[in-house]
Assembly symmetry: C2
Homo-oligomer: 683 residues x 2
C-alpha cells in the first residue's frame, strides 16, 4: 500500500532534483509541468484550465495520503487504507467499521471523522528570493537555520493573516527553491461508504505490493462546510469505460518522500544503517502489536490499524533495502555520480561541488550516531504530553523563533490534533509505552543518565503502568486546559506524563537541534549539487517528493515477470478465481457481500490496473485521469518491483497499481446497493 508510513515523515525533508531521468519518470510541480515532454512523447498539450481543474480537484489527507473531489456536493474518493485511520477511530467494541464496512443511507448517517484535515492546493508562489535574502551570506549553520526558519514563519503568517488559507513554505530542490503553498482546509469530513477490509485488502499482507491484484481499496467521504455538504466548483468527472493498454494517464497526488538526489554515500547510509535500523524497529512493533492482539477479539481490533501500518511499512522497507543491497543499484548510482563529479571538477564555477559531496558523507557519519537518539515514545498519550509541554514553552516566544509545528500558521491543525475525539485505549497505550521505555534503555544503555530519569528506579513495564495510571490526558477537557493554559500551568501539573515530558524537554530539544543542524548542512550541500546538475545537464526536472501536490504521467502497460506476461488489468471474475486458488489462506476470503452478489455482477468489469506513472508512499488515494481529465482509476499500491523507486525509478517491471473507476461504480451498484451514491458521482 502506498500510504505514507509516519516514520517516513522524519524531521528531515530533503528535496532535490535527479541527475538523469528515464522513461515516464517524474513527479512534477503543478507550476512547472513537463509540457515539452508530454508534447513530444505523447503529443499531448495540457491546457492551463486542464491542469487547474485537476489541481483543484485533488486533495491531501493529513493522515498521510491523497484523494480527489468527485461530485459537486462534496464527495471525496480515497483509498480504504488511507481512510482506515478514520475508520479505526470511528469504531468501537460494538461497531467494527474495519471488518464490516459502512454505507450511509442518508446525510444524517454520515459519520464525522475525529481529526481529519483535507487540503486543496489553491495557489503556489515562488518566495525563493525573499527566503535567501533573509539568510546572511556568512551565517553559521545554526544561524542560517534560525534565520531561514524565522523568515519562513513570517511569510506563512503574513499569508495566513491576509488570505485565511493554510500557508506552507515548501523547500524544493534541496533548498534551491522555496515555494509558498496556500491551501483551502476542510476539517469537517464525514464517512459515506467503505467496503469490508476483506474486499479492500483482499489477499492481505501476502498480496500487498504484488500484482495481479483484485482489491476494492476505496472509500468515499464527504467534506462539509458550516454543517452542510460543501458546494464544489471543481471535481472530477468519471470516465464510463475502463482503460486499455497504451492509454496515457496522469496521477495527481502527494508523493511523500523520495531520495533520488541522494549521493552514493547517503544511499550507503540508508543501506547499512538507517533502513536496517528502521526494519528492526518495525519488526519489533509488529510483534508487540500481534502479542497485544492475542488477548482477544477486542484487543485485536484496537491494535489492528496500527499493525496494518507497521506491516505495510515493513514490507515496503524490506523491498527498498533489498534494492539497495543489490550491488547493481549502487553501481548505477555510482556511475552517474562519477560522471557528474568529473564534469563539475573541470568547471571553475562549480568548484564547491566536491566539498558538497564530502560534506554529505560527513553528515551521514553523524546521522549514524544519532540513530535511536530519540525521546519521542510513539505513545499517543506521551505525544500529547510532550506536545502540551512544548506548546506552552513555544508560545512564550515570538512566532518566528518557534519550532515549526508551533508557529501561528499551523495553530488550527495543532488544535485539531490535540482535541481529537479519537478513542485512546489505556491498555494498548501501556503496552506500547512499556515497549518504548525498554527500547529507550536498549538504545541508550542502562547506565545512561536519561534512563534513570525515565525509569525512576523501576522496570520498563512497571514504570509504563505507573505513568499511564498517573495521567488524565485521555480526557479532552484536560488537554484543553493545558492548551488554554500557560507555561506556569504546565509547571504546576502533577500529571505523570506531563511531568516526564517536562523532564525530558531539554534532551528532546538537544536532539532536535542536532538533527536540524545536520539537515541544514545537507540542505546547503545538496543545493550546491543541484546547481551543478542544473548547469551541467540543464535539468528542469522535478524536485524530490515533499508530500505536496505533484503530477506524474505514464502509460497503462503490462510487463514480463519470470518469463510470463502480466496483463495490465484484472476484473471481478479474476477476484473470484483468486479466492478459489487461495482457499484456506489468511485474508483470501472475499466478504459475504461479494459472494451473494456474484450473479448480479458484470464479472468482466475492470477491477485493478497498472501503469508506469512515477508514484511513491503518499500517492495512495490519488486520482488517475485520462487525457480528458476524467477519472479512470484510484492509485492504491505499487508492485514489488517498484519498491526501489524511492531512490531509482525504472519502468522495466515497476508499476503503479490502481482500482479501476468503473470497478468502483460496479461494486457500489451491484454489491453494496449504493445506487444513489453511484449516481451522484461525477456530477
Amino acid at each position: 500500500m502506498r500510504k505514507l508510513y509516519p516514520l517516513a515523515l522524519a524531521t528531515m525533508t530533503l528535496l532535490c532534483p535527479v541527475f538523469e531521468t528515464s522513461g515516464d519518470e517524474g513527479m512534477y510541480l503543478f507550476n512547472d509541468l513537463p509540457v515539452d515532454q508530454l508534447k513530444s512523447k505523447y503529443d499531448f498539450e495540457p491546457s492551463q484550465a486542464w491542469a487547474d481543474a485537476l489541481r483543484l480537484s485533488s486533495v491531501r489527507f493529513n493522515s498521510g495520503g491523497s484523494g480527489s473531489f468527485i461530485s459537486s456536493d462534496g464527495l471525496v474518493l480515497t483509498n480504504h487504507h488511507v481512510a482506515s485511520d478514520t475508520l479505526h477511530k470511528l469504531s468501537s467494541e460494538d461497531r467494527n467499521l474495519i471488518d464490516d464496512g459502512y454505507l450511509a443511507k442518508s446525510l444524517d448517517q454520515e459519520l464525522k471523522a475525529p481529526d481529519l484535515e483535507l487540503n486543496q492546493l489553491v495557489s503556489i508562489e515562488d518566495v525563493t528570493e525573499r527566503v535567501n535574502a533573509a539568510v546572511a551570506k556568512d551565517a553559521s549553520v545554526a544561524d542560517a537555520a534560525t534565520q531561514r526558519r524565522a523568515v519562513i514563519a513570517e511569510i506563512e503568517k503574513e499569508s495566513t493573516d491576509k488570505t485565511g488559507l493554510r500557508s506552507d513554505v515548501v523547500t524544493l530542490f534541496g533548498g534551491a527553491q522555496y515555494h509558498l503553498y496556500r491551501y483551502k482546509k476542510y476539517t469537517d469530513v464525514r464517512l459515506v461508504w467503505a467496503p469490508e477490509t476483506a474486499a479492500a485488502f483482499f489477499g492481505g499482507d501476502a498480496d500487498n505490493f504484488e500484482y495481479p491484484r483484485y482489491n476494492l481499496d476505496a472509500t468515499i467521504m464527504r467534506v462539509y462546510e458550516d454543517g452542510k455538504p460543501a458546494k464544489l466548483e471543481h471535481f472530477l468527472r468519471w470516465s464510463d469505460s475502463g482503460v486499455s493498454e497504451g492509454d496515457l494517464v496522469f496521477v495527481s497526488g502527494n508523493p511523500g518522500r523520495t531520495q533520488r538526489i541522494f549521493t552514493v554515500e547517503a544511499l550507503k547510509f540508508l543501506r547499512d544503517s538507517r533502513l536496517p535500523y528502521v526494519l528492526d524497529y518495525l519488526r519489533r512493533k509488529e510483534i508487540m502489536l500481534q502479542q497485544f492482539g492475542l488477548e482477544g477479539a477486542e484487543a485485536t481490533r484496537r491494535a489492528r490499524d496500527e499493525l496494518f501500518g507497521v506491516q505495510n511499512g515493513r514490507k515496503a522497507y524490506t523491498g527498498m533495502l533489498a534494492g539497495l543491497q543489490d550491488p547493481s543499484t549502487i553501481a548505477t548510482k555510482q556511475a552517474r555520480e562519477t560522471k557528474l563529479r568529473a564534469a563539475a571538477e573541470s568547471d571553475p564555477e562549480l568548484s564547491g561541488t566536491e566539498s558538497a559531496f564530502a560534506e554529505i558523507a560527513a553528515v551521514q557519519a553523524e546521522k549514524k550516531n544519532m540513530l535511536g537518539q530519540t525521546v519521542t515514545f510513539r505513545s499517543r498519550l506521551f505525544d500529547l504530553a510532550l506536545t502540551s509541554v512544548l506548546r506552552a514553552a513555544e508560545d512564550e516566544k515570538p512566532n518566528g523563533e518557534r519550532l515549526r509545528e508551533f508557529t501561528e500558521s499551523g495553530r488550527e491543525s495543532l488544535v485539531q490534533d490535540l482535541l481529537s475525539t479519537a478513542p485512546i485505549y489505556r491498555d494498548l497505550e501501556r503496552v506500547k509505552l512499556a515497549d518504548e521505555l525498554a527500547r529507550f534503555v536498549e538504545s541508550r544503555g542502562g547506565d545512561n543518565e536519561w534512563v534513570a530519569v525515565v525509569l525512576d528506579g523501576k522496570g520498563p513495564r512497571e514504570r509504563a503502568a505507573e505513568l499511564i495510571e498517573g495521567t488524565k490526558l485521555d480526557d479532552i477537557s484536560v488537554r484543553k486546559t493545558y492548551l488554554d493554559g500557560t507555561l506556569d500551568d504546565i509547571k504546576r501539573s502533577d500529571d505523570a506524563l506531563i511531568d516526564l515530558a517536562r523532564k525530558l524537554e531539554p534532551e528532546y530539544r538537544r536532539i532536535r537541534t542536532i538533527n536540524e543542524e545536520l539537515d541544514e548542512r545537507e540542505r546547503q550541500a545538496y543545493a550546491k549539487i543541484t546547481a551543478a546538475v542544473s548547469k551541467l545537464q540543464g535539468a528542469s526536472g522535478y524536485p524530490d517528493a515533499t508530500f505536496t501536490l505533484r503530477l506524474a504521467y505514464g502509460q497503462v502497460k503490462g510487463y514480463m515477470q519470470d518469463g510470463e506476461r502480466i496483463e495490465p488489468a484484472t476484473d471481478f471474475a479474476g477476484a473470484f478465481e483468486h479466492e478459489a486458488q487461495h482457499q484456506g489462506q489468511t485474508d483470501f476470503d472475499l466478504p459475504p457481500s461479494w459472494n451473494q452478489a456474484k450473479d448480479k455482477l458484470d464479472l468482466s468489469t475492470q477491477l485493478n490496473f497498472v501503469c508506469t506513472a512515477d508514484i511513491i508512499g503518499g500517492n495512495s488515494g490519488s486520482p488517475v485521469v485520462n487525457r480528458k481529465g476524467e477519472l479512470v482509476g484510484l492509485i492504491f499500491d505499487g508492485n514489488i518491483q517498484s519498491l526501489t523507486s524511492d531512490y531509482l525509478y525504472t519502468d522495466q517491471q515497476a508499476r503503479a497499481v490502481s482500482v479501476s473507476g468503473v470497478g468502483i461504480l460496479e461494486a457500489l451498484r451491484n454489491i453494496y446497493g449504493a445506487d444513489q451514491l453511484a449516481n451522484s458521482i461525477g456530477k
Copy 2:
C-alpha cells in the same frame, strides 16, 4: 516452554558457581549432591541407590531437552515441545503429526526418529588434574586454549576407545573443574504417542510462560536396541496420586545454560548489547517465518516447528531482558559483587581477583564488536555444506588439534546429523538463506569484502535462489559422498553451497578463533573469581548450567500474584473452563478428542502443577519425582516470573511448571484410548 533454544548453545559455555544461594536454589551435580541441605531443610537423606536410579532413569535429548525412562521395555517420556522437532521431521503434506498427534497401536506402528540421540549418564570422573597438568603455566591465551583442547580430545578418545561410551569432558565452575561424563547412547528412538498441539500447547504463545496452565505437553517415545525395544534396568515408577502443597520434589534434567556467576559488567553486556541483538534477530526470524507461512497451509506446516521455537525464544529473552532492565536487578548483583571484591582485596592470596573483574569487563567490550560477526547462515543446507567442508579439513589433522565437534569421540553423532533423513524444504531454505544473506550485508555493511564474496554481484534474494538451485546437499547420498571423501573431493566439488562454504572457511575460522580466545580469557578470569568465592564463602554450591545432568529440588507451592493467590495445581475441569473463557482466541480451542471425552474424564484429576525447583531451558521434559523416587510430574515450562532465573534465582513468585503424572495417565486412558500404553508405564 523450557526447551533449549539453539542460540543458547553458543560456542561459549561459561560455567561458574554462584556468589550466594537462596531458598531452593541450585542445579546440583550428581557427584556432589546437596546432602546436608536436604537433611537440614527437608529431613531427607537421598541414598546412593536412590540417586543412581534417578540418574540412570534420566536421559538427555540431543534436540535440546530432557526426558526419562518410564518402563522396562524402553518407553521414554518427554515434552511434546521437545519431541516436536521429531514430529515435524516425521510429518509431510499428507501426515500432520503436529496438528493431529499420533498413537502407535502396535510396535510396528512406532515411527523411527530421523536423527534423535538420547544420552543416559553412566558415570562421572573428575579429570581436573590431568587437564590442568597439560596446560603450561605460562602459556599464552591461544596456547592455553590449544593445549586444553588437545588434552580434552585425548581423554575423550581414550575413554571412547576403552568403554565404547560417548565421552565428554565438561568444563565446570568456570574452568575450576573438568569432569569426564560417559553416556550410553540411544540412536534408535521411535514415536509411540503424541497428543494434538491444541492440547499440548493449549493457550499458545499467549499462555506460554504463564500460570495457571492446562497443558498436556507430553509425548512418549521408545528406545530400541538391535531393532527391538530396549530392555531397561532403570526406569521410573509412577506415583498413583497427585501432588499436594508442600510436597518435596526433585527434578532430574539437563539445564542448558545459566549465568549466575556473571559479573555486573557481563550482565550489562547482556542487557545493553547481546540480548537486544538476539531479540532483533528472533523478531526478524519470526516475521520471516510468518511471511513464509502466508503462502498456504503446507508452507505454514513447513515453517511451524521453527516458528514455535523462535517465538518461544523471543518470549523468554524478552523476559530475561526485562529483568535486567529493572534497575533493582543490577543493584542486587552489584551489592553482592562489591562485598566479594572488598573481601578479596584484603586477602593477599586473592590478589588476582580485581584483575579478573577487569579482564571480564575488557572481554565484554570485545564481544560487543563480535556481535553479528558470523558466517553461519542458519540454513540447513548451508550448515551441511560448511560442516562437510570443515569435516574434510579437520580430518587431515591429528585428533587433538581438531575443532571440538570433529574429534573422534563425537564422530558418531556428527554422522547421524549429516545423514539424517529429516526432510529439507527447498522453498523454505531459499527464503531463509535470502534473509541470512541480507542480514550478512546489514551486519557487515555492503562494501565489506566478504559481502562481495557472498553475493557474487547479485542481490540477496537472487543469490539465495541461485545457491539453493545449485546444491544437491538435500540428497543424503550426495552428503555421504562428501562424508566418505577427502579434502580433495571437497576442492573438486562444483556444488554451489560447498563452493561458498569453501570460500568462507577462512573467515569462519578467523571468527571462531577470536571467539574461542575470548572464551578462554573469560574462563581464566572466572576461574580466579570462583577461587575467591570458594575461599571467602566456603561455597560448595553448584556450577552454572552446562546442558548436563543436574538435580534440583523444591516444594510444590502456590504464590501470590497481583494480590491474588495462585493455587499450585490445576485440573481437567479447569482446562475446559479456560477454553470457555477464551472463546474465539487463537490457540484456545481444545482438540475434538478432549471435548468428545469430556463425560468420561475424571475432571478433578490434576493436570499441571508448580514447584520452586531451580530449572532453566534444557530442563524441558525432566521428570519430577517424589521422596520415593516415583514420577509425579514432567517439567515443561517456567512461569513468567522465572524468566530472570538465567542470572538470578528467586522463589517469591518464580515457579517451574509441570504436567502431572496422573494427568498424563488419565488422558491416555480416557481421551486417547491408549489403555495398553498406560498400563505398561512404570512397569
